[in-house]
């Protein structure tokens, strides 16, 4: 009566997909893609997360209210990450006039 019953076959398919993606992300780490190594690794992680959230955690079959709460969670995370990064990664963009002391952008490597 309550809750959608997902078939065992679908669960096993998702599990196998997750294993393939784990193998893929591990393999790609050993190929030089420059800056894209990080992009690919995170993209694969996001796909894996979506598979787990939608099928293992049944969000695909959940009510609209649950879906909104889940989306709101990730939206708030995006706000936190975006605003934090927009501070740290733009500190070097504007020059610090002389006499204002040293810039507070990246300190040298210790």
């Amino acid at each position: 009566m309550s809750g959608h019953v997902v078939s065992v076959r679908l669960y096993v398919t998702i599990f196998l997909l997750l294993l393939v993606l784990t193998g893929l992300t591990t393999g790609v780490a050993f190929i030089d893609l420059g800056d894209y190594n990080t992009v690919v690794a995170l993209a694969i992680a996001v796909v894996k997360m979506l598979l787990v959230v939608l099928f293992f955690m049944h969000v695909r079959y959940s009510s609209g209210l649950t879906k909104i709460v889940v989306l709101a969670g990730f939206f708030w995370l995006a706000i936190m990450l975006t605003f934090t990064m927009s501070d740290y990664f733009t500190r070097g963009w504007t020059p610090t006039p002389s006499g204002w002391g040293p810039s507070i952008s990246a300190p040298p490597n210790p």
Binding site: T22, T26, A41, T66, L77, P107
Partner: protein, 230 residues
């Protein structure tokens, strides 16, 4: 209705596990799931703070973070990812067994989930022991030898390992809490407290377990993989 004694009508009117404040089982199930997701959202932001600070310090001290990442064992990390994904499958199958009223299968899959969780923690402990042996534990035993860090700036490598230990230990703490939850669920299943009409605790525990799996799905590439291993 008023003439009937409360005890005789109670079981007939209410399905097992039904709480009085809800209209019906459907609403109770919905409320339980929603509540768990609200908790998980706070957990997303809890771990999100760590991920944000990791991203900032990684960008500031990239060479040290990459050198530190290469000191981790990819094989063990990948194995642990597979083990945890496997435990997510068995957890999903436990929910399936609860939904279809298969008590023995439910107990079996809960125990299997705990076994896989134990394998994960065992491998994690082995990794910690190796790091201890190599003197790569900031604050407690920080004495990496020359070859280990390949002339990388040592302070940055130490910072990477601060993040490594804090993030993985926080994740492992969640696993241990999950262990406790699964133990309680196994006992409750053993007592036959769940039915296809009432299995909300199993499903909600499953949501927690899958969430912990998702955290690791991000920790694995961030800590082990993006350190320039080619």
């Amino acid at each position: 209705m008023a003439e009937l004694s409360a005890s005789s009508t109670h079981a007939a009117v209410h399905p097992p596990g039904f709480r009085h404040q809800f209209e019906d089982m459907e609403q109770q199930h919905e409320a339980g799931n929603l509540g768990m997701w609200v908790f998980l959202v706070t957990e997303i932001l809890f771990f999100g703070g760590l991920f944000a600070s990791y991203a900032i310090y990684r960008s500031l001290y990239l060479p040290g973070f990459e050198a530190g990442s290469r000191l981790l064992d990819v094989k063990l990390g990948a194995t642990n990812t597979a083990v945890l994904i496997g435990s997510s499958l068995t957890m999903a199958l436990a929910v399936h067994a609860a939904q279809t009223g298969k008590r023995k299968a439910l107990i079996f899959f809960l125990l299997l989930t705990m076994v896989l969780g134990a394998v994960f923690l065992g491998i994690k402990f082995d990794e910690y022991a190796t790091k201890w042996h190599h003197g790569l534990v900031p604050g407690l035993k920080w004495a990496p030898d020359e070859e280990m860090h390949n002339n990388a700036p040592l302070g940055s490598v130490e910072l990477f390992f601060c993040f490594y230990f804090f993030m993985t230990a926080l994740h492992a703490t969640h696993m241990i809490i999950g262990f406790g939850i699964m133990t309680v669920m196994t006992v409750k299943s053993w007592r036959g407290e769940f039915s296809p009409e009432y299995y909300a605790p199993i499903e909600v525990s499953g949501l927690y377990w899958h969430f912990v799996d998702i955290v690791w799905i991000f920790l694995f590439p961030l800590l082990y993989l993006i350190g320039g291993r080619y």
